[in-house]
């Protein structure tokens, strides 16, 4: 808010907005844009009070944090990571770099867009994020991530399916047991370490 306060010619603005604020970093610019708009209206003598602006900030932060987590951490990030895993399996460094660049371009774009969008909408932001169109966008990104996850699962499963040996049977059992443990919030890391020790022990005993 410091540059905005300076641009509006009021040092008091940035001082007022240094308190606690929790939101997803990719959607924070939307709230910042909205606040700048309201501060501008307040300076222009419109009926906007400091309490109104504080209320706007507090009412937008938590819902946008939840939406941002669903959109970015449960949608876009898994989508990018599953795609990156597919490229890594096929040893494509350029594919990996392309995913990295695209993901970051989307984040930069979203942050710039958010600032302008928040500024344009002001109070109307509340209606935008409770609309069905936004919910559809959220569903779309999560479905795209699931589709991409399916591609990665197919690539990973194919090698077991094409190899008709005891290894395939072990893989099938492992998938079922790992899903069951993950559903009970048991760490996949410890399960993997346990299986590592089991594999070394078993192979040493059996020869």
């Amino acid at each position: 808010m410091h540059p905005a306060g300076k641009a509006l010619g009021s040092g008091e603005i940035s001082a007022r907005h240094q308190g606690f604020f929790n939101c997803n970093p990719n959607l924070t610019p939307i709230v910042v844009g909205g606040i700048v708009r309201l501060e501008e209206q307040k300076l222009a003598g419109r009926p906007v009070s400091e309490e109104d602006i504080e209320h706007f900030k507090k009412s937008m932060g938590p819902p946008l944090a939840a939406i941002g987590d669903l959109f970015f951490l449960a949608g876009l990030k898994p989508l990018a990571l599953t795609l990156a895993c597919v490229f890594a399996i096929y040893k494509s460094v350029s594919g990996l770099l392309a995913v990295f660049l695209l993901y970051n371009l989307l984040i930069v774009g979203c942050r710039f867009w958010g600032l302008r969008f928040g500024y344009r909408k002001g109070w109307e932001l509340v209606e935008v994020f409770s609309s069905s169109a936004f919910q559809r966008a959220l569903d779309l990104i999560q479905t795209a991530a699931a589709l991409c996850g399916g591609v990665l699962a197919a690539v990973l499963l194919f090698r077991y399916l094409s190899d008709r040996s005891w290894g395939s049977l072990a893989a099938g059992l492992l998938i079922v047991s790992a899903v069951a443990l993950l559903r009970r919030d048991i760490s996949a890391s410890w399960y993997a370490v346990f299986l590592f020790l089991l594999s070394v022990l078993f192979s040493t005993l059996v020869g």
Partner: protein, 228 residues
Amino acid sequence: MELSPLLETSMRLAVLAGLLAVDLRAGWQSLASEPLFAGLAVGLLLGEPQAGIATGLFVQLIWLSMPPMRGAERPDQVAGAVIGAASSCLLVSRTVDSRVEFLVGIGVVLALLAAYVGRTATDPLWAMRDRYLGRMGWEGAGRAYLVGLGSVFLLEAMVVFVLFPLFQLAAVLAEGVLGEVARRGIVFWVALLPTFGVASIVNLFWQKNLVRSLVLTTFVGVLVLWLK
């Protein structure tokens, strides 16, 4: 004055880990700190990109089911990925064993352990840092931000600088001590690691509407690969 190669490598890895931690905890939040990309960065730094990617890929598949949300308790992913990938890369570059799967397997298991050791060891330090930042108050927000940023870099760099030589020693010992039969067991374990990826994906998209899309593309994907 000439630094020993291990000390020099530890310092380079510590700086890389510090930068990745800043990106993850206090900065841009790009994908750079994810194990796959951290593994690639370590691989490029140590001249073994394929070993770095392979280690990062397996660790990523295991951790894919742990998105950093809903209060999830995650291990120290930066320390784990950097130490694991570096161990693999150094083993691959120094050993005559041609089975990269075995060497990568050692790197993966060290990554999983380093992530938990790193987190357990630094938890009290993170709590101390948070208390200190809390005492600075909002009046000094700019200074608190800089202190926060610096402490993230220093803490992660310190973890990697201290833990990497120890884990590297463990990797070299394991590589030297394990017999042929145990090596076969580790290669078998590595061959089964992709199953964790499938399990992570199923867990990640465990919702009625998403599971349908997941199953459909998996089926179509397997069919396409089969026909190919």
